[in-house]
């Protein structure tokens, strides 16, 4: 008798121990995955956050040198201001920072502390403040990428001069400007508003953000209704026979097709046969819709299938047509699931790069697109483009773009969770 009890206790201890081990494995696996996510986020954040502010240098611009009376600016139209010749005037305003410099070479070096668009920036300031210009105005001009990186501490100053893009004399100027309190940071609004640029300090994600937005909009408009209707037909109306089995298998296959294949399809058919404009969010959206459709169809079908058949019977039994039973009772219950599937599909599409490369959305686009028919980049493609660039400024911008992309993805997934929570039918 006692033998038997002892045996049981031993076997129970064994089972409890194996349960403990199993739990440790599970926790280990989860921690491992979590650790990698954390490392990824930390890595991207630590190299990307500095792209959200930028270095500006304070310059006093003597507008009186440009015109006899600064009140005259208020009578000029924007076009008049555009026609003003301001290049040497702007340069002279910058030289005034170091009046002692005589040599042309040094002057050139000083100018290079600033972004190449300094003249444009002074002109813009003039345009937006033309009615209220004093004799001398203090303007914050964008520093060049090299200065920006030195200021942020991303640039190793102790390299030999010939291995550095920024020269010793420029560092001297820079340190002097810092001592005089003329160098400061400001929030990098242009980074969020502008399109791509060859100059890292002027490049922004605005263009690719709008491009991504248009693309996702096209995907939503195309794939949501098509996906929902296809799923409703397949789940509720289609006869169960070989043809529908075949369609079902192929939809599942479609979900597994590598995305670059859809890019080839877009290139071959949408661009070359139908002749839609290259590099545009419209075409990108169409291609990504093809990719997103199976995800939406599969998710919607699953949530339709989860609606209890008794609801359909209840509606049919009071004399509803099949369509009424489905649209009034089944679809509303399945909608949260369908929406969640759609948002997850859209999030996938948002992060997709390969098919966009093939349809030309990898182009260098300076302008922020105004419509889905304008050439544009998208966020993931922008990451790809900048990750290949040599200038240091693009390194932080690449990471910052990834941060934006991850931010949007997290927002979309959050929306999916919230929609599910809010609209889920309570039984």
């Amino acid at each position: 008798m006692t033998d038997r009890i002892e045996q049981r206790i031993n076997s129970l201890n064994k089972r409890l121990n194996s349960e403990k081990r199993f739990r440790i494995y599970c926790i280990g696996a989860m921690s491992f995955a979590l650790a990698w996510v954390l490392i990824l986020f930390l890595n991207i954040f630590s190299s990307g956050y500095s792209a959200f502010y930028r270095t500006v240098i304070q310059v006093d611009v003597p507008f009186l040198n440009l015109i006899e009376d600064t009140t005259q600016f208020s009578e000029m139209s924007s076009e008049d201001i555009n026609n003003l010749s301001m290049y040497s005037f702007s340069k002279k305003a910058i030289y005034r920072l170091f009046p002692d410099i005589e040599e042309k070479k040094d002057k050139k070096m000083l100018i290079r502390l600033f972004s190449i668009e300094f003249e444009q920036e002074i002109r813009e300031f003039l345009k937006s403040n033309k009615s209220n210009i004093n004799e001398t105005e203090t303007i914050y001009l964008t520093a060049s990428d090299d200065v920006d990186q030195v200021n942020k501490g991303n640039y190793p100053r102790d390299l030999d001069e010939d291995k550095r893009r920024i020269k010793d004399i420029q560092l001297l100027f820079f340190d002097d400007l810092v001592d005089r309190g003329l160098v400061s940071y400001e929030f990098n609004l242009p980074f969020l508003m502008r399109g791509d640029s060859r100059e890292p300090e002027l490049a922004g994600v605005g263009g690719s953000m709008v491009g991504s937005l248009f693309t996702i909009l096209v995907v939503l408009i195309l794939s949501f209704p098509i996906g929902i209707f296809a799923a409703i037909y397949l789940e509720e109306f289609a006869p169960k026979n070989r043809v529908t089995d075949f369609i079902e298998i192929n939809i599942n296959n479609l979900a597994a097709v590598p995305s670059i294949v859809f890019g080839l399809l877009g290139l071959g058919i949408i661009l070359n046969t139908f002749g839609l404009p290259r590099s545009t969010p419209l075409v990108g959206g169409i291609v990504l819709s093809l990719m997103t459709l199976p995800t939406i169809i599969i998710a919607t079908r699953a949530s339709l299938r989860a609606v209890p058949p008794s609801i359909r019977e209840g509606a049919l039994a009071v004399g509803a047509t099949k369509m009424q039973a489905v649209m009034h009772h089944v679809v509303p219950v399945a909608m949260p699931g369908a929406l969640t599937g759609t948002i997850i599909g859209l999030a996938q599409a948002l992060g997709e790069t390969a098919p966009l490369l093939l349809i030309g959305m990898v182009a260098f686009v300076v302008d922020v697109p105004q419509t889905p028919l304008d050439a544009s980049a998208s966020l993931p493609v922008q990451v790809y483009l900048w990750s290949e660039s040599a200038e240091r400024g693009y390194v932080e911008k690449t990471s910052a773009t990834i941060m934006m992309l991850l931010g949007f993805l997290i927002l979309m997934n959050l929306a999916a969770v919230l929609i599910r929570r809010k609209f889920e039918t309570k039984w």
């Binding site: 008794s310 609801i311 359909r312 209840g314 039994a317 009071v318 509803a320 009034h328 309570k426």
Partner: protein
Amino acid sequence: MKSIKIKADNLNVHYGEKQALFDVSMYMEKKQVTALIGPSGCGKSTFIRCLNRMNDVIDICKVQGKIEIDGNDIYAPDMQVEQLRERVGMVFQKPNPFPKSIFENVAYGPKIHGIAEHKSDLEEIVVNSLKKAALFDEVKDRLSDSGTSLSGGQQQRLCIARAISVNPDIILMDEPCSALDPIATARIEELMGDLKTEYTIIIVTHSMQQAARVSSRTGFFHLGKLVEVDKTETIFSNPSDQRTQDYITGRFG
């Protein structure tokens, strides 16, 4: 002789290869309760689902033979199945209210059939249906609550109210009390007694006591065949078939 409401003639039903009903012929009297009893899988649910053509939903289901309601063949090609179901309401085994408000549950039928012209008409129909289903007093203060928030017995009475709302002649009840406790069951049985003054009721039940309590005629199904149909008292006191005798005395089933 009471008048005949429903008449089934040589009804055969197949699910694919499998035959579920064999040559069932019976009639049901107007404004009476007819009970269908028999062991599980005997075809009584299949039979009742033929009466409002709910079996149409199942692709592989084939119905042969004839069912007449008031002399009209309900499987005739020109019969509109939606119209048929408006006249032949159904209450299911498991309460299946829509996941919507109590009001909308009852208002749905009248709405889709365009029975109520004004909103006030619709409210009147809903209130009357809930009263007839003996539910109104319990829910009158919370008509906008979800139908699924009610108790099981209340849900089933809500489903009865939903069936009544389109003003049918016939109510089919497919084991309406099998998911309910004895008290809720008693309320539904009491309700059936009230409803039969206006409606012809066919009830499928597993409980022989229930059949004895509520019905005037009873049919006994076994293995897809209608073994015997007669006055309820005759079935339970003096059945003519040995199988019926065995079933009601509890020897099988």
